[in-house]
Every structure is written in C-alpha cells, then in structure tokens.
C-alpha cells in the first residue's frame, strides 16, 4: 500500500490539488475564472462519459456489468436510508434529508481520481461502472424528496395549531417535478449523453476524439483539481459554525460506506478495480448536482451544511486518504 499511496502523491494532478489548498490557505488571490471552472467540469463529464461508453460498447452489458450496476443502485438507496436514520436526531430534520441525499449520490471527480489511481497501478476496470455512476444519481434524489416530504408532513402536524405556519412553510414540490429537475440537470444529462455517444460511436469515435478527451485529460484535470483545492480551503473557512457531529459524519461515514460496498463487491465476485470504483462511488458525496437540486427540492435545508460537508471534508478525505485506503482493504480481501 505504501507504494501506491506514495504514487498517489506524486501525480501532478493531485499535487495541484494540494497546491490549491495551500494557496487559498495563505489567502492568495489566485483564481480560475468561473466560466473556465464550469467548462472544465463539463469537459470532465464528457470525457469520462464518453470513455465509459466506448468501453461499454466493447464489453457489452454482460452479467459482470449488471452485477456492478445493480450493486451501485442498491448502495444509492441504502446509504441515504441509514444516513438519515443516523442523522435524524442529531441535525435539523431537513438538513438530515439533504445530507442523506448528498451521500447517496456521488462525486464525479472522486470517481475520476480513483480511475487515475487504478490506471497508475495497472488495475483494470469496466466501462459499466460509469453507467453505475450515472444511475446512482436518481435513487439518491428520490430518497431525498421522500424523506423531505416525510419530514414536512410530520413537522406540519406539530405546527398545525399555529395559523402562521402555512405562510412560512413553502409549498412542497411534487416528486415528479423534482425527478424532472434531477433528470434534466445539465451535469447529469451531459454524462448520460456522452456515455451514449461513446457507446454509439465506439472505437471509431474514440479515435477521433482521443486527442481532446484522452490526451489532454490529465492537464485539464490538474487545473480542475487546483480549482477544487482552492474551493475546499475557502469552503472550510465557512465551516466555523458547523456542528462537530456533522464534521465527524463527513470524515467517518465515507469509510463505513466504502466498507459496506467492498463487502458487497466481494460477495458479488466483482473485480478489484470495479470494487474500488463501487467503494468510491458509495463513499463520496455530491457537491454539484445534489446541492443544485436540494436548493430547489428542500429549500428548508441549509446548503452551508451539506455542501460544506461533502466538498470541504469528504472530498479531500477521499482524495488523500480514502482511495488508497479502500484499495488497501480490497487488496487484502481479494488476494
């Protein structure tokens, strides 16, 4: 493990992440223009979606693939369920619902970092795991909405005597509206679209797109992780009022989620590479798609909570400690 952990730190992209954290920590005015950062996040989605699609076109949706995808969707339902139970008494109920959704969903950049880790260590993984990633978005969001309306109805019950309550509580959004919002969310849709286009064009398409989607990928990832480092350090500054329990949750639960995923992967006989990706998908929390949707679907929750937890704590934990740690466990179990 020591070797791969070290290799992790010597990757220029990861080093740019640390550099970004450092720059923001010393209050540098270094800044990637917002439109560039947004474009890079779209680029990364296109690149991994496309790559996954091409790989899938090669392998097809066989039993291995279906097992991986099924395991991922199961985790996307399981993680928010027990997360909510854990959080319920210890956080505002709406915050609990939003945090549960955040951790049911995934971080594409953590997924990419794990793929890079596997590539560096010459471990194979399947294109179907990208499909799995795509499919984890919706169950998590459905859970969030169901949990939020459960919270809403129990809160309404308690508040019913008060007349003013109706005026304060926002009109709940329909599950259908939220699902539309989730499915049409730009980031989510772009990933699906790129996967499909990769699948349709296969090797021929790959060859045409490779200089853009593969060759310069590492460099753009490095720039993007620099921006992520800046973001993480700046977000942490906002974390002053954050309850310690939530910080603990953000730092401990990833390993718990990953462990459950690893056990599941082992039971299903998945390959080591796919197992790591499943672990990382389960361990990571969303900081783009789900916050965007929660702002709409659970406006009562405080974004400062769930966003800071997933971006400020869980993301760096997974990048620095999580990925090599989970892989260490997998190596121990698989060999």
């Amino acid at each position: 493990m020591d070797i791969s952990l070290l290799a992790n730190f010597i990757d220029p992209a990861i080093l740019f992440f640390f550099f970004g954290v450092f720059a923001a920590a010393i209050r540098s005015n270094l800044e990637i223009p917002g439109s560039i950062a947004k474009f890079f996040s779209l680029y990364l989605l296109v690149a991994i979606g496309f790559k996954g699609g091409v790989a899938l076109a090669g392998s097809g949706l066989d039993a291995t693939a279906l097992a991986g995808i099924g395991a991922a969707m199961f985790m996307a339902l399981l993680v928010p369920a027990y997360s909510f139970l854990i959080l319920r008494g210890r956080a505002q109920p709406f915050d609990a619902a939003a945090i549960a959704a955040t951790y049911g969903s995934i971080s594409a950049v953590t997924f990419i970092a794990a793929q890079q880790f596997l590539t560096r260590n010459d471990v194979d993984f399947g294109g179907h795991m990208t499909v799995a990633m795509v499919l984890m978005e919706s169950p998590a969001i459905i859970m969030a909405v169901l949990l939020a309306s459960y919270v809403r109805s129990s809160t309404a019950l308690q508040l019913s005597p008060s007349v003013g309550a109706a005026a304060v509580t926002p009109r709940p959004v329909s599950l259908k509206a939220v699902l539309h919002e989730a499915f049409t969310d730009g980031a989510h849709l772009l990933l699906i679209g790129s996967l499909l286009i990769g699948y349709l064009t296969g090797e021929a398409g790959k060859e045409m797109m490779a200089p853009f989607t593969a060759d310069i990928f590492k460099g753009i990832l490095a720039f993007f992780l620099l921006e992520m480092g800046l973001l993480v350090a700046r977000q942490l500054r906002e974390a002053r009022g954050m309850p310690p329990f939530l910080i603990g949750f953000a730092l401990v639960m990833p390993s718990v989620n990953a462990l459950i995923a690893i056990i599941l992967a082992s039971l299903l006989g998945m390959g080591a590479g796919d197992a790591l990706l499943l672990a990382v998908l389960s361990a990571s929390g969303s900081y783009i798609v789900v916050p965007a949707i929660c702002r709409y679907a659970i406006p009562e929750a405080s974004p400062g909570r769930y966003f800071t937890m997933s971006l400020g704590f869980t993301f760096p934990f997974n990048i620095i400690v999580g990925i090599p740690l989970y892989y260490f466990v997998i190596q121990a179990l698989w060999s």
Binding site: F40, E227, L231, R234, E238, P291, A292, R295, P299, G304
Partner: protein
C-alpha cells in the same frame, strides 16, 4: 421622461426562467439579466461550486401601476428560494 419603478431582484440562477415566466404573466415590457453574481445573505455566502450555484441579478423597469403586481409575482420566489428584491424610482428616457 416618464416616471417608472425600477425593480431589482437577486435570486438563484436556476429559478430565473421560472420567475421570468411568472413576470410575463404580469405583462412587463421587458427585463435585463446579469448572470453569475455572488453574495451573502440570510443563507450565508453563495456557494462557489464551479460556477454551478451562482445567483442572477434581474432588473425590471415597469409602470408604477404595475409595480405591485410585479412584486406579488416575485414574492413567492423570495419566500421559497431566498434572495432580495428592491424597488426604487426612476425616470424612463422615452425614445
């Protein structure tokens, strides 16, 4: 020049389209949109999420009579998603 009301709204950029639809129902004659503004309010600082969670700034100049209809169209959005709405007086240069 003609006396008008100058209404400015700041709200999450994902809700702008829907707000504009609501405003269209009040028959405003137009609006101007400044994208990607950031800020701080009751809900804390805007999150810096790779340009995905910014606010927008919307400016509507409307006749004084129409002002309260416009404000009523905006109010539910403020209630739901936060943000602010300021109303001030202005003279519209006719052309």
């Amino acid at each position: 020049m003609k006396a008008m009301k100058r209404i400015e709204v700041i709200l999450p950029e994902g809700e702008v389209d829907e707000l504009i639809e609501a405003l269209d129902a009040t028959e405003i004659s137009g609006y101007t949109l400044i994208p990607s503004v950031s800020g701080r309010g009751d809900r804390g600082r805007t999150l810096r999420a790779l340009g995905h969670l910014d606010n927008s700034y919307l400016l509507v100049a409307c006749e004084s009579e129409r002002m309260s209809a416009v404000v009523e169209a905006i109010r539910p959005f403020l209630k739901r998603f936060g943000g602010i709405c300021l109303v001030s007086d202005a003279q519209w240069v006719l052309h």
